[in-house]
Symmetry: none
Subunit: 361 residues, 2 copies
DNA sequence: ACACGTGCTGAATCCGGAA
DNA sequence: ATTCCGGATTCAGCACGTG
């Protein structure tokens, strides 16, 4: 399967994603994250109860003549994706009820093998303003391997478990939508109508790739995949048709500070009986990997890693475990033991736990 | 459209659901809940970490030769369902990633119009024993109308909102799986491998049907739909091939104590209250022509004319139109916008509407 | 500095009956 | 089938301005 073509790592290629994927060497990428057009079929405008206007996704790239046209498009890009994927690679697709059933059926038809469907539950979805439906509060992701018999796909089970309070990570993920400072703007307007939150890609890349892996995003848009890939020490290849999105994405990714390799080490195998409800704080960016924690008397120090584990000299593990080991104690409540520096102030990480709980209600 | 056939209300018909649906009069049922075979493609047996055997769904009725066979089956039962459904009826289907994408695509192809997809999040899902996937912690439901232009579907928005602490019900529902005393047993073994929890049907029937409605379940199984329908004062029709399930279901439903009608009344929408024209308020002398109305902040004024229209400077028209025009809004609820002076107190004219309604019954 | 209120916004298939 | 119009309808998060 070797090929003379070299992969255009950490760059964005402009053009049609199907042609571009077909121009890349086959079996060359470790993971594909795809956020294709949803083919929303909106009719008329929508207003909030306060009579303000809802800025809908009515971009030309989301318009298809019929299901048949959308299906043909879906089949083409999925087939191209299957070709460039390594035999042990995986594909992630995100969508809503408008398109995800069609995408899911088509990828099964092509021989992809579904590993999980994952629900992104939004903490802050747009309500149903007319009171005629349930709040459309989630989107669906499909995670699949190249075919039924594929082996060796990356799944960092233990890292995800640590990120989730030492409980096996479920198929429903609660995360906020992309808003506030994270939302890219150009001249005060949304740079892209459907920018995804970095926390979502953070979890996906942590779960299904390793350092140095190649991640392809055929619908690159504002470049969330690239930004998170760079932060997490993965290589990205972005495909995008529109010049304006490429410009925004390049600028965005340039500003990303990659985490250092030692902070990217995640829990790989059986851990030593830890109790860790700390991963979501890191995932949500309330603390970042590399941050140094210390106890209230500043006798001990430890460093945060990407999966929410701590490292101090030759010890690593959950916030509880490391706290206990350092003190020579049999147990320790890491939440109250560890502190971080916030503008000169020593603040307990328990404050962050409150914050996450508040968000999760 | 009329037919001489009478509906077999509150009974279970034995046989093939497609034939049976086609034998029922068309446009005759208000809602269909369908829990079709998931077509799980299991290979080999599954064991827990303690080496105990997992009792998997390996029933003969869940086996299909290929996606094509499953799709053909899906198309047939969906088409039959579409036929028996009233024009303002809705269909609910539940499935997992094994089948739901195929079902969703097919129902879109048949012209059903998706209203929501709903995620049933399980509080107590079976873990992934191998540590190779995310915990498969949810199932997906699709709620759809008969076609894109369907109108008048039942959705008890206000009732659901009250059920959810006065916050609009979201598309993700957290409910336990069916276990414990609710789980039907025969000779100590599960009576049916995929029995659904009554709480799930309770929410669905409360949301999308009214008392006295006819609910059809083409894959009746152990009869959860029938049990909850009876409890909630809905009529059910169950279709089931297997004698053993019918026996269990009949016995189960017989034991159900229906709730009394007054306990079944749910919060209703303002939309369902009788319309009162503003003119009748004037007609009845609750307000008289010449009276001056104003908004709550007293920024706008208008005068009532004899026919129930308002005048403000050069604008005249209904209470709604004048309110909208004055504010520069696209619409306005005149009933809540306008106030009048009653002995120094500012009173909403909506009070007068209530008065008329009270007099009307 | 901190509390509080106001305003804006987010992948949305978002009304129904009478004329 | 199309138009008109009465009148019902929103949650969480963040930015910003005021006290």
């Amino acid at each position: 399967m070797s090929t003379s073509k070299k992969l255009p790592l950490n760059s964005i290629l402009q053009g049609d994603c199907i042609e571009l994927m077909n121009s890349l060497p086959e079996k060359s990428v470790d993971m594909i994250f795809a956020d294709p057009p949803y083919n929303m079929q909106l009719s008329g405008e929508l207003r909030r109860p306060d009579d303000s206007h809802v800025d809908a996704v009515d971009d030309h790239w989301d318009q298809f003549e019929s299901f048949a046209v959308y299906d043909a498009f879906t089949e083409e890009w999925l087939a191209a994706a299957q070709r460039v994927l390594k035999d042990d690679g995986t594909l992630w697709v995100i969508g809503s009820y408008h398109n995800i059933f069609r995408v899911g059926a088509k990828l099964q038809d092509l021989g992809f093998w579904i590993l999980n469907d994952v629900i992104w539950r939004k903490t802050n979805p747009m309500p149903n303003f007319r009171g005629t439906r349930f709040t459309n509060a989630h989107e669906t992701l499909i995670w699949c391997s190249k075919d039924r018999n594929a082996k060796g796909m990356t799944f960092n089970y233990d890292a995800l478990k640590v990120m989730n309070d030492d409980i096996q990570m479920r198929s429903d993920w609660l995360l906020p939508i992309c808003s506030g400072g994270e939302r890219l703007k150009v001249d005060g307007e949304k740079a892209h109508t459907t920018q995804k939150p970095e926390a979502l890609l953070y979890r996906i890349l942590t779960a299904a790739t390793n350092q140095g892996d190649v991640v392809l995003d055929p619908f690159f848009g504002s470049g969330t995949t690239g930004a998170v890939a760079r932060k997490l020490g993965r290589n990205y290849i972005g495909l995008e048709r529109e010049e304006k999105y490429i410009k925004v994405a390049k600028e965005r990714i340039r500003k990303v500070q990659p985490l250092s390799p030692e902070n990217l080490e995640v829990t790989t195998s059986k851990r030593q009986e830890p109790r860790v409800p700390f991963g979501s704080v890191v995932e949500r960016g309330l603390l970042s990997a590399g941050q140094v924690l210390f106890d209230s008397r500043k006798r001990y120090r430890a460093r945060v890693r990407a999966d929410g584990s701590l490292v101090a000299s030759d010890i690593s593990g959950s916030i509880h475990k490391v706290g206990a080991r350092l003190q020579g104690a049999s147990s320790c409540n890491g939440w109250t033991f560890w502190h971080f520096d916030a503008e000169g102030q020593s603040v307990s990480i328990d404050v962050l736990r409150q914050q996450v709980r508040a968000e999760m209600n």
